[in-house]
């Protein structure tokens, strides 16, 4: 499950780099996927946990990093949903989840006997108040952010966005399970019951995140694949033609327009540049090139 999630997130991050360069509004959700990937990496699914942790002193700092990266991932996802729902960033509660990070770091530092490196670092140390505070505050911040995210999506949650929101609700249930475990284990004698509830955290957390990531990826591809099919060949052909006929002063300009503009805008710029080239050189392109340019222009269309 974790490896599937890692592959999904890696694909997303790579596919979205051009959009992140062009559109600043896309950066929040991109940062979310980067932090999500870092969180997964710090779980030790690519490099063994012991290896990563040994570089960091072998005192389970990876556990703290997992918590911080996961929180940042959800926080930035929350921000992109905020933009989607057109909600201004006015409430003081907006940055509240980030305040939990220094508190978590302090609590983590106060945990005694942090060696050796272990995936279940917090469970044997739950008797300590610092561990309970560290784990509890992390879950509380996560739960708060996820619930706010679902709340912001309430009017838009239709179709795949509803699946996305459902995945987030499963994550919220997982966080609630873990929070219940922390409270029951540390403050009551019902340890067995607490462990039984706590065991649901990992199952639900990764299930929820996988559903969320998969629905987001399907939404993303269904939006972008038809455009890529319609324009990509034309964009590449026009860029190559601009380079071949030396339509620009710089060889980098055609490639820059291709990367820096949306596909349609890049194509339009290339067409204008090629026409300018024809006019200044006072010679027309050969008939097959002219025909292809005409076909592309017809696809773009113009409202007169």
């Amino acid at each position: 499950m974790r490896l599937i999630l890692f592959a999904l997130l890696s694909a997303l991050i790579l596919l979205r780099i051009p959009a992140v360069v062009k559109v600043k509004e896309s950066r929040a959700s991109w940062l979310a996927s980067v932090f999500g990937l870092l969180a997964l990496y710090s779980l030790g699914i690519v490099t063994p946990l012991e290896t990563i942790d040994s570089y960091l002193g072998g005192v389970n700092v990876t556990n703290l990093l997992q918590a911080i990266f996961a929180l940042l991932a959800i926080f930035f996802f929350n921000d992109s949903v905020r933009q989607l729902a057109n909600i201004p960033r006015v409430s003081w509660t907006y940055y509240a989840p980030l305040l939990s990070i220094p508190i978590m770091i302090t609590c983590f530092a106060l945990i005694e006997d942090k060696r050796p490196t272990a995936a279940n670092f917090i469970f044997p140390r739950m008797e300590q108040l610092a561990t309970a505070a560290y784990s509890g505050i992390y879950m509380l911040a996560l739960l708060f952010t996820v619930l706010r995210l679902v709340y912001m999506l309430r009017h838009k949650a239709k179709g795949l966005l509803a699946v996305f929101a459902a995945g987030m609700i499963v994550v919220a249930v997982a966080c609630a399970c873990h929070l219940t475990y922390v409270v029951l284990f540390h403050f009551t004698p019902w340890h067995e019951f607490a462990l039984a509830i706590g065991s649901w955290f990992y199952r639900l957390f990764y299930l929820g995140l996988s559903v969320t990531a998969a629905s987001w990826l399907i939404l993303f591809l269904s939006k972008h694949l038809p455009r890529l099919r319609l324009w990509m060949t034309d964009a590449l052909w026009l860029t190559a033609l601009r380079i071949r006929v030396n339509a620009d002063r710089s060889l980098f300009k055609p490639a820059w327009d291709f990367i820096n503009e949306t596909l349609e805008d890049g194509i339009y710029k290339s067409l204008i540049r090629l026409h300018n080239h024809e006019v200044t050189k006072l010679e027309a392109f050969p008939e097959p090139i002219k025909n292809r340019i005409s076909r592309i222009e017809a696809k773009l269309g113009a409202r007169i």
Binding site: E25, L271, H275, A302
Partner: protein, 147 residues
């Protein structure tokens, strides 16, 4: 000289959504308080792609018929950009009235422009954004969640 942001100008002429060239020209007519005529003109154009000729009570934009529709539209928007800047007193015509009088009996006029002229850059950006607003197949609306 400080030019207005191109995006704001385009918004002023086209509104929020998409529009057509006719509508954009109509709005510019109101701003510059003169009728604007778009005239396809046969003849020897050389490297000229469009020409604005302003009279006391109207403006003509002349353009050659030989180019493709997209390119003609782009060149017209470029000229509309010049008209907008002149209507706001932000740029003077490329050939001033006094110089125009000097050319009264001339058989040819050529002029030199400084390369990378800020006015030219502004009107070219204006033409690009205007065409985007009036293109049938433009970039999809921004979606911060998915873009």
């Amino acid at each position: 000289m400080v030019f207005p942001p191109v995006e704001e100008t385009v918004l002023e002429l086209c509104g929020d959504g998409t529009t057509s060239m006719t509508e954009a020209v109509e709005r510019l007519k109101l701003i510059c308080e003169k009728p604007i005529h778009l005239i396809e003109q046969e003849g020897e154009w050389g490297t000229l792609t469009a020409l604005t000729v302003e009279y006391e009570d109207y403006i003509n934009i002349l353009f050659p018929p030989r180019h493709s529709l997209q390119y003609k539209v782009h060149c017209i928007y470029h000229e509309l950009g010049h008209i907008f800047l002149e209507s706001q007193n932000l740029a003077s015509p490329q050939i001033s009235q006094s110089l125009l009088k000097e050319t009264k009996n001339a058989i040819s006029v050529s002029c030199r422009h400084i390369e990378d002229d800020p006015v030219e850059r502004w009107v070219e950006d204006f033409a690009f954004r205007m065409s985007k607003k009036t293109r049938v197949n433009s970039s999809p609306a921004l979606d911060p969640f998915l873009c």
